[in-house]
Symmetry: C4
Subunit: 179 residues, 4 copies
């Protein structure tokens, strides 16, 4: 099965995920600068999620570049990744509205953890073993992230801002060039 | 008429359908784990619909792979399928919010039934007759599904959770590899 | 300038328009069959708009098939068409909620009229003059539609259901094969 | 890295941005012509934003046409542009609802300013230096716009309608053919 439609479909879904998050971002109720400041936490969480979805898109791009054909199991591994990514707007809205609440911030981390695990499953299915150094490094970053996302869940339940700080730190880790 | 734009357009519409469903999934009103548990039925229904739309995308992909060109009637048979699929977010929201109510769960089955019928009409129009064993098996599964979706409608009106169980069972049937 | 990205972008926008209309379709407030019947007018208006957007997509497809390259003015003629089409979800929601109100139903006709005019402008810009019989017939249908959409606006203000009947009749006219 | 997926993804995101803005455009509450007039400011702001997103799409198209391959930094420069563009629906809804309020209209200008700056950064990254006259002219228009968007922010805080007039004037400047 050719990978073209898989790429086109994934691009479509990721483009929609990254864009519809903004629909959850309600315009301020009033028109003053203070009203604008009130929506700032939601806005920052949106920016963080935008970066995360961007990271996944870039990495998805790099992963698919290395394979020529995909099988049915890879289609489903890909849909599995897209499923967890599709929940990012939902946890973004919830954690963005309640930045100091343990459960929403922890759930944000749960979704990031599941995205990360499903990305690793997809890269296994697509056969990253022959992809050499860059892939191995990405894979090591991926495993490290999985551990840290899990840590962030526990931390968020104890003290949400620290959990959010781990989310930001991991986004920065992924933004750094791989080599 | 070339099939490329048909594929691209269908991918676009299916990508949007699978993604906008999450917009109907309201974030919990509160911030406790109990508030999260309250939205669980809607969330499970969303996961089920995600799987169904994924199944249609994979099958649509496989179906179009076998044809080289499409005519005007096939364009409309395809739009007909997309029309019923576009109602999936709507019944997902309704049945997700009222998992124990007969009419919403039955309507969920009505939309699945009409998607299934329109997929069969599309595959007829695209001339699956020469497509051999895999196609015939898909077609037999399709006919069986049509009967069971119709049964599920009646069952849902009597006892909604059993109707939902049939919806889940049929999704699992379609997830199993064809051969 | 190549037409590929114009086609891809138009497919994207049209796919989104045809799909987001369903977001305006609120699930029924209750769970009874009567609640379902209450949303039927909105649902029928949605079906009509889905058919219209489908017609535009098919005709856009046929129009672009005949041209090889596009210039800057054609890009804007295309964006002009997409602008009026983007208002279809908005008038669908308004006229769907108030099927017996003169102004919403008339506005639905206004948007259809402007879509029709902008499609004609686009086909002029793309130089349909050499496209022979099929094109000329499409163009004659287009001109007839423009007159009838204008008539439907006046009729809707006097008696909305008759205006809606003209909207349905014109959709049927366009669904009929061209030759 | 090939530019094809970058173009496809950008087209997808821009197509969604240009289309979802209409979702923020609530149908009028009543059904009279006066109710329609009430939503006119929001509608005009939507039309203006549609033109702006259209301008960015056309210019993005022209910019990418000149490059053959993109690197990782260009992917992120592109995501940076898409991020600010993704906020256009949000400020369109806010400024559209409050056309006479200083902060929302000024924020509309802030987002336009940041879109403009990020477009310039992207064109630098893609190496527009060898692109000759048309590019240089576009770049000069880009720099002029950046100054005028900044001016419009201050003007909007003092007298919002004049700020909006600058937004319209700059859209017209960009609509004029480049040579």
């Amino acid at each position: 099965m050719s990978k073209n439609r898989l790429e086109a479909f994934s691009d479509g879904v990721i483009a929609i995920i990254i864009t519809i998050m903004v629909l959850e971002l309600q315009p301020p109720h009033g028109t003053s600068a203070a009203d604008l400041a009130n929506v700032l936490p939601g806005w920052l969480r949106y920016a963080l999620s935008f970066v995360y979805v961007g990271i996944y898109w870039v990495n998805h791009h790099a992963l698919l570049d290395r394979v020529a054909r995909v099988d049915g199991a890879a289609l489903w591994a890909n849909l599995h990744l897209l499923f967890w990514m599709s929940l990012i707007p939902w946890v973004t809205a919830w954690a963005g509205e309640h930045p100091m609440a343990p459960v929403p911030v922890a759930m944000y981390g749960v979704v990031l953890l599941l995205c990360s695990i499903s990305f690793m499953l997809l890269s296994w299915r697509l056969g990253g073993e022959g992809a050499g150094h860059a892939m191995a490094w990405g894979s090591r970053k991926n495993r490290l992230s999985i551990v840290l996302y899990a840590v962030a869940i526990g931390v968020s339940l104890a003290y949400p801002p620290l959990g959010s700080a781990i989310h930001v730190a991991l986004a920065l880790l992924w933004l750094m060039p791989g080599r």
